[in-house]
Structures are given as C-alpha cells and as structure tokens.
C-alpha cells in the first residue's frame, strides 16, 4: 500500500502497464501472424510437394536432365521436395516481414529496402555456394575414384581434403561477393593452402621419415607386383 501511495513508484509502473496494455494486442497480432505464417509455410510446402509429385514433376525434370544435374551435384532431394522447400522458406521470410510491419512500418520499409538492395548480391553469393558445393562434390568423387583405383593410401582423406579446399575457396568467393569477411576468408584460405601444405611436408618429411620410407617401399613393391601381373584384360 505504501508503494501504491508513493507517486514516484506508482507513476512509472502505471506508465509501463499502460504501454504494456497498448502493446499486448500488437504483440498478440505479431505472434498470430508468425504462427499462422509458419503453419501456412509448412502447409504450402506439403501442397506444392504433393501436387508436383502427382503431376509427375520429378519425371519431367528427370527427362530434362535437371534431376540428373541435381543428383550429380550431390543434392539428394527430389525436385518436387526442393521446390516445396524453397516455397516454405520464402513464405517464412514474408511472414517475418509482415510481422515486422505490425510493429513498425518505418522499420519494415528500412528492412525491405535493405533486403531489396542486397538481394542481387545475396543471390549471386547463393549461386556461388551452390556451384561450389556441386564442383567440390564432383572433384572429391573424381579424386576418390582415381585414388582408390590407383591404390593410393588414405584415398578418402585426400578426397575430403580436396573437397574442403574447394569449399573454403568458394566460401571465400561468396563472402567477398557479400562484401564482408573479405580479409578473413582470404587469410583462412592462405593459411589452409600454405600452412597446410607446409605442415604436411614437415610432418611427413621430419616426424614421419620412417613412415615415408615404408610408404615408398610399399609403393615400389606394389609397382613390381604390377609388373609381375601378366593378365591381358581385353
């Protein structure tokens, strides 16, 4: 009671309660919009995916080699699922913008403006990342196939190393395109390339002299075995 009778305490509290009471419907509207938007996003995802599958979209794209390109790139999703996925996240983004517009029209304008001006760069960066993923997966598989058939030890690690290197390279390209982390990405790439190679050379040449000798001996022995194998396969 003493607290309520003290205006220096009661007035700020009253102001807070007034603001909260005024803000509550707005927050409620934001929550409703987000929940409804997310539900709609998932519903649209399911609808698009099911409809496309029913109309044979996967088959059509297969015939046009789109599905092949996706599979070669290591993207396991069916084209219908991929389209549904894109629709779902677009709806989620629009839902968030709509929710933001309830809170403040000015903020929405600013965010939308920034997004629109940033969109081409974002799209280019995304494209670089997708291409990088595809290229690195292709190169990793090529290296693995060559290394296993040539009986190179640590074939899987070699392939993964190549994939990582390509991923870092394309990641650096994407970051540079977005306009931030440019120096960081370049430094990371330089460290991975230069430092990694130097570390490997030192580790193999100094710490692993015995291992190097044994590996070379084994390789030479296998080469001699190969010479002794007189099969004519054709």
């Amino acid at each position: 009671m003493i607290l309520l009778q003290n205006p220096s305490i009661w007035e700020p509290l009253q102001r807070f309660l007034h603001r909260a009471a005024a803000l509550f419907p707005v927050m409620l509207a934001v929550v409703v919009v987000i929940v409804a938007g997310v539900l709609l996003a998932w519903l649209l995802d399911w609808f698009v995916r099911t409809t496309l599958r029913l109309v044979g979209f996967d088959r059509m794209t297969h015939r046009q080699h789109v599905s092949d390109a996706l599979r070669r790139a290591g993207l396991a999703r069916a084209p219908s699922a991929l389209t549904g996925y894109v629709v779902r996240w677009l709806v989620v983004v629009f839902t968030l913008i709509a929710a933001l517009s309830i809170l403040s029209a000015e903020a929405t304008d600013t965010v939308v403006g920034a997004l629109v001006s940033y969109l081409p760069r974002l799209a280019a960066a995304l494209l670089i990342l997708v291409m990088g993923y595809a290229v690195s997966a292709f190169i990793a598989r090529s290296v693995l196939l060559w290394a296993v058939n040539a009986r190179v030890r640590g074939a899987r690690w070699l392939a993964r190393g190549c994939q990582l290197l390509m991923a870092v390279f394309f990641g650096a390209l994407a970051l540079e395109n977005l306009g931030f982390g440019r120096d960081v990405s370049l430094v990371v790439l330089a460290i991975l390339l230069g430092g990694g190679v130097l570390a490997l050379a030192l580790a193999y040449g100094l710490a692993g002299r015995d291992l190097a000798r044994e590996s070379l001996e084994t390789m030479l022995e296998e080469a001699r075995d190969e010479d002794r194998d007189g099969l004519s396969h054709l």
């Binding site: 088959r59 070669r72 292709f138 196939l145 058939n149 190969e226 004519s232």
Partner: protein
C-alpha cells in the same frame, strides 16, 4: 581436299596414285617398332599367297610413334619367296602409311582406314593389331575369305587364349553381347577383324568419333554395330593370340571405362532390341581348330582381393546410389575371404553388371564415375575366376564361361526391371 574427309594430305596424295583396290588390310600402330615388321610381313605374305589375283593395299595408320614404326612399315621386305611356297607373284601389295586426325586412339586410326577402304572401293578389309607375335599369313585368309567368298560382312576372330587372359571379354563383354544382342560372338573385342566394304562405309558415316569409340571402345562398337545392323557375322579360328609385352602405361581402369562405356552405350542406343532379346544363337565358324601351347600368365591374387575390398569400403556411398541393396549386401559379404579361396557367386556378378548397365542408363551419376567404380568389383570377379579356374583345362574353361553367359541370359528379367525402374 574433299570436304568432310579425315585423311591427311599425305594419304590423299598416296590414294590418288594407288587408285582402286580389291582388298585392304589395316594396321593401327603406336610405338610398335619391335613387332610391326613381323605383322607387315605376315600380312603381305597372306595377301600374295591367298589372294594372288587381287589388288591389295596395306594401310598403316600411326598415332605419332617416336620409335620409327612407320619407317619399318615402309622399309620391311615382304616374305613372298619359295620358303612360303609362293610362286613369283604378279603384283605385291601396295603400302600406304599415314597419321590420323582426331582423338589419339585406335578408334581414330580405324576411322581413317574406313575412309581409305571406301575411297579404294575395297570389297573386303581386315584390321590386325600391330603388337602381334603370333600372326601368320593364314590369318589374312581367314579374315578376308569369308567376306570375299561366303558373303559375310563381318568376321570376328576366335583365339586360343590362356584361361586367365581376356577377363574383361569373358566376364563382361561376351556374356553381355550374347544376352543383349543374341549372338554368341566369342571374342567381340578380339582386335583383329574382317569386314566388307559395305560395312566399312556404314561405320564411317556414324557420328561416334568424339566418344570412347575413338579409343579402346572401337572393337566392341564395331561388333555390336554389325550385330545391331543385321549384317552377316561369322567367326574365324586364328589359333593362339600372343602379343608384345603389356604396355606399362596401359591403365586397367581406362580400358574398362572405355570398353564398358562403349558397350553400355550401344545397349542404350539399341535398348528396345537389347532388352527384348531372349536367348542367343550360334554364329557360323571358319578355320581349323587345334590345340596350342600357351605362355603362363602370372597373377597377383592378394592385390586383386585387396583392391576389391578397398573399393567396397571407399565407394560404399557411391554404390548405395545405384547398386540394388541385395547386390550391395551380397558383395559386402564377400569381404574378408582369403585370396587363395576367394569366391563370387555367378548370379551376384550378373546382377552387379546389370546394375551398372542400368545405372549408366539412368545417369544416376556421371557415366564415367559409375564406370570407374567397376574396377574393384571387376578385380574381385577376376580373382574369383583365377581361383575357380586354376584346376581347369581348356574345355572346362569354355564350359564355365558358357554357364556364366547362360546366367546372363536367364537373369535378363532383372535387367529389364532395373532398366524400367524410376528413380
């Protein structure tokens, strides 16, 4: 120069001076100085002895040898004296030595020879490898006479080979040609063939010269094109096939990719016929069969089995993308066997090959990647064959290869099912 020609100016000029010819024998070469002299002498003697009244041309299409191979072809004397019971010939075969355009490989050399055959108006042609040590003049007769005198368009060779030799032929190519093209052509990629001028002209017009056909794939492409085109095909028994020591630079995976790629490509190109084909027919045979002594073939079982197991481990996720789960499980179960007792059930191998054929059709992955994963499995099959065939004589070997091919025919519904399967 004619438009659309693949001939080099030197060949054009030589063709002008030769004019027409009845028969042509082609020898593709690349660094074969050690053996090509013997091959040219055998071919020359065969032409003079067995086709004395005909105008003959020996064509050497060389891939840029650095060991003087073309000079040997130009300079070697022909053995046409009394030692070979040949009367003084009216005319000796003419020689035409040229390079070729296109992707370096045997197929590009053949393409040049097809055009030369067409320009010469040759009625019958033959091609023989430049590294042969066992070729005799009789080979020329056996490859050309069925075309000239019996009306056949294509003559495949039949050889006596060591039981461990020709494993790509025995495990993949012969059974697949038999089950998909319906003819029992025992050596579809033998390397030495006879063919009619009509068929040479047909080959020349095909648009395949930027593919594996330009390399090792040429042999299987020629055979399957002849079969698919319903040309008259026969076989001629030539005896033993012994060739120069293996080129150390020759890569098994490259050979396998090119041969299997060309064969699977032909199945795809003629899919309706190949899938509907049931059973197979005998192919007419010429020549007199005889037993020959064969050089022993050393093999390294441990290395083969090790590569097989390593491939299964490392390519696991790739195999999961196109091998049938049962096939993959069956192959995985083979790991851990000792090399000396290594086995692979025939039906498992048949299903594996059919899975690869279907995978190249569905383009599950880039075709070359799919084919490159075949090497370890093929080496596993080869190891199993070496173990199985070690006590076999020639008759048992042929019976076993026949039995495997019969399984390929019997399992054809599996291929159809996998081919028509949607991803």
């Amino acid at each position: 120069m004619r438009s659309g020609t693949v001939l080099l100016p030197e060949a054009e000029a030589r063709l002008e001076s030769i004019g027409r010819a009845d028969v042509m024998v082609g020898i593709p070469s690349f660094n074969n100085a050690r053996t090509i002299g013997h091959v040219v002498r055998a071919v020359g003697a065969g032409l003079v002895k067995y086709f004395p009244g005909l105008t003959a041309v020996i064509v050497n299409s060389d891939g840029g040898s650095r060991d003087g191979t073309p000079d040997i072809v130009q300079g070697v004397g022909l053995d046409v004296g009394r030692g070979l019971l040949i009367a003084s010939p009216d005319r000796l075969p003419v020689r035409l030595v040229t390079g070729y355009k296109g992707i370096p490989g045997k197929g590009s050399a053949f393409r040049t020879m097809f055009e030369i055959a067409e320009r010469l108006g040759a009625r019958a042609c033959a091609v023989v490898d430049a590294d042969l040590r066992s070729i005799t003049p009789e080979w020329v007769q056996l490859l050309l006479a069925p075309v000239l005198h019996e009306g056949f368009d294509y003559v495949c060779p039949l050889y006596s080979r060591h039981k461990y030799d020709g494993t790509i032929t025995n495990s993949i190519v012969y059974p697949l040609v038999r089950s998909c093209f319906g003819r029992r052509v025992r050596q579809p990629i033998g390397g030495d063939f006879g063919f009619s001028g009509r068929l040479a002209a047909h080959y020349r017009t095909q648009d395949v010269w930027e593919s594996d056909v330009a390399r090792y794939g040429i042999d299987i492409w020629m055979t399957t094109t002849a079969l698919a085109g319903d040309f008259k095909v026969c076989q001629a028994y030539l005896g033993a096939k012994i060739h120069d020591a293996k080129d150390p630079g020759s890569d098994l995976t490259a050979m396998l990719v090119q041969v299997a790629g060309a064969l699977f490509g032909q199945i795809e190109a003629h899919d309706k016929r190949c899938l509907e084909q049931d059973g197979s027919e005998h192919v007419p045979e010429f020549g007199f069969r005889f037993d020959v002594g064969l050089e022993p073939v050393p093999v390294n079982l441990r290395r083969m089995v090790d590569t097989f197991e390593r491939g299964l481990r490392e390519f696991d996720s790739i195999y999961a993308g196109f091998l049938h789960p049962e096939t993959k499980a069956g192959l995985t179960a083979l790991a851990g066997q000792s090399p000396e007792e290594f086995t692979m059930p025939p039906d498992l191998w048949v299903r594996t090959v059919y899975d690869f054929v279907a995978a190249t059709h569905h383009r599950t992955l880039p075709v070359e990647h799919v084919l490159r994963t075949l090497t370890p499995l093929y080496l596993g099959r080869t190891a199993a064959w070496v173990v199985q065939a070690s006590p076999f004589g020639a008759v048992e070997v042929e019976a076993e290869i026949d039995a495997l091919s019969a399984r390929f025919e019997a399992c054809k519904p599996y291929l159809r099912e996998r081919w028509r399967e949607r991803k």
